[in-house]
């Protein structure tokens, strides 16, 4: 019927739209990640820089707090030290290095993204990417493996059965393929290669 024909789109069109949808989802995810990690313009004031740097440093005599969050005298002294270094013209990297020189790498709440420590950041990202590629590849292979492609023999067989069904429907006592006897020959579903 025409209405049914309108509801069922050709397989190629469905496949294209599905690919477009997946591409849109992937682009959306990438855009979200890019927005999350994109460097924002920084407030250049001493107070804002002090707050930002203090938030990156561990309060050494607190449990799980940054220097920015703690109110202990040592955290206050650390904040004053950061502010003094900013006023003295030191860069963020120099200030971080000064604290690492005194306390070691453990004073940084975020592992450094250079040298061998960079692998701590890079490896999980690489693993996620490899996993996503692997899953995508397996899905793609699975779809390709299970797709049924009729052979020339199948086409001939289907044409013959259709012709027989049409012939049976034309006879006066026939009730069509559904009501009639099952035609001789192999099952079409079994004949299709998997």
């Amino acid at each position: 019927m025409p209405a049914e024909r309108h509801r069922h789109r050709p397989a190629a069109t469905v496949g294209t739209w599905r690919r477009v949808a997946w591409a849109a989802v992937a682009l959306g995810a990438l855009a979200t990640l890019a927005l999350a990690v994109w460097p924002r313009p920084e407030d250049p004031s001493v107070a804002a820089r002090t707050r930002r740097l203090a938030a990156e440093l561990r309060c050494v005599d607190c449990e799980g707090l940054s220097v920015a969050e703690s109110s202990t005298p040592s955290a206050r002294a650390a904040r004053a030290d950061i502010a003094a270094r900013i006023r003295a013209g030191q860069t963020d990297a120099q200030i971080r290095r000064a604290f690492v020189d005194r306390y070691g790498e453990t004073v940084l709440l975020r592992p450094p993204s250079e040298g061998i420590s960079a692998l701590v950041w890079a490896l999980p990202a690489a693993a996620i990417l490899a996993g996503a590629l692997g899953v995508g590849w397996v899905l793609w292979r699975g779809r390709r493996e299970t797709r049924l492609v009729p052979s020339a023999e199948d086409e001939v067989l289907v044409a013959r059965l259709r012709a027989e069904a049409a012939g049976a429907a034309a006879t006066p006592n026939g009730s069509g393929p559904a009501g009639g006897a099952r035609p001789a020959g192999p099952d079409v579903r079994e004949a299709s290669p998997r």
């Binding site: 650390a78 701590v120 490896l123």
Partner: protein
């Protein structure tokens, strides 16, 4: 092996290699003890930070004035029980060395009010110089202190010869002082 199983095996192999690589990186980064970095001073073997502060009696305490001496720097607080525990060690050591100008002992309050520190010094009859105020708080950062008590020994050459976290014992103090003077 089917055509689907082979890539799965390759994928599993790749994931396994990534996990092993990640483990090696973590092991190299943290070495044997993740807390090891937090339990040793980075200052040992390096020039001591300079300090300048006011003593509880109002006299200035400056590292520049102590140059050429063996200086024991003790970070403490009036409310700190382990600090009370080590106080007899410092008291005895100071009694033995206070008349020798090549030695000095400086107490620095780490996390205390100036008033509480003054009261503690008076009541406990502490006779070595004790620094308070902003200069003392700056010194706690410059020395990279993590708690109290903490003791640093600076040699006559201005190099930090030893650092100790926790209540000091006499053998530990003697060992650090001997190292600072080049006899340990």
């Amino acid at each position: 092996m089917s055509r689907v199983q082979r890539p799965l095996r390759r994928l599993a192999l790749a994931v396994g290699v990534a996990v092993v690589a990640f483990t090696i990186v973590l092991a190299l980064t943290v070495r044997s003890d993740p807390r090891a970095d937090a339990n040793r001073s980075r200052l040992v073997g390096r020039p001591a930070p300079s300090f300048a502060m006011t003593g509880v009696d109002g006299t200035p305490i400056r590292s520049a004035a102590l140059a050429g001496r063996t200086v024991v720097v003790s970070f403490w607080n009036s409310w700190c029980l382990p600090c009370r525990e080590e106080e007899p060690v410092l008291r005895r050591w100071w009694a033995e060395h206070r008349d020798d100008p090549s030695y000095a002992l400086v107490g620095i309050t780490r996390d205390d009010t100036d008033r509480a520190a003054r009261t503690a010094v008076r009541r406990r009859a502490i006779t070595w110089p004790v620094g308070v105020g902003r200069g003392a708080r700056q010194a706690t950062v410059d020395f990279g202190t993590r708690g109290q008590p903490e003791t640093y020994v600076i040699g006559p050459d201005g190099i930090v010869a030893g650092a100790y976290y926790g209540p000091l014992t006499r053998p530990v103090l003697d060992r650090m002082v001997a190292r600072a003077r080049g006899v340990g």
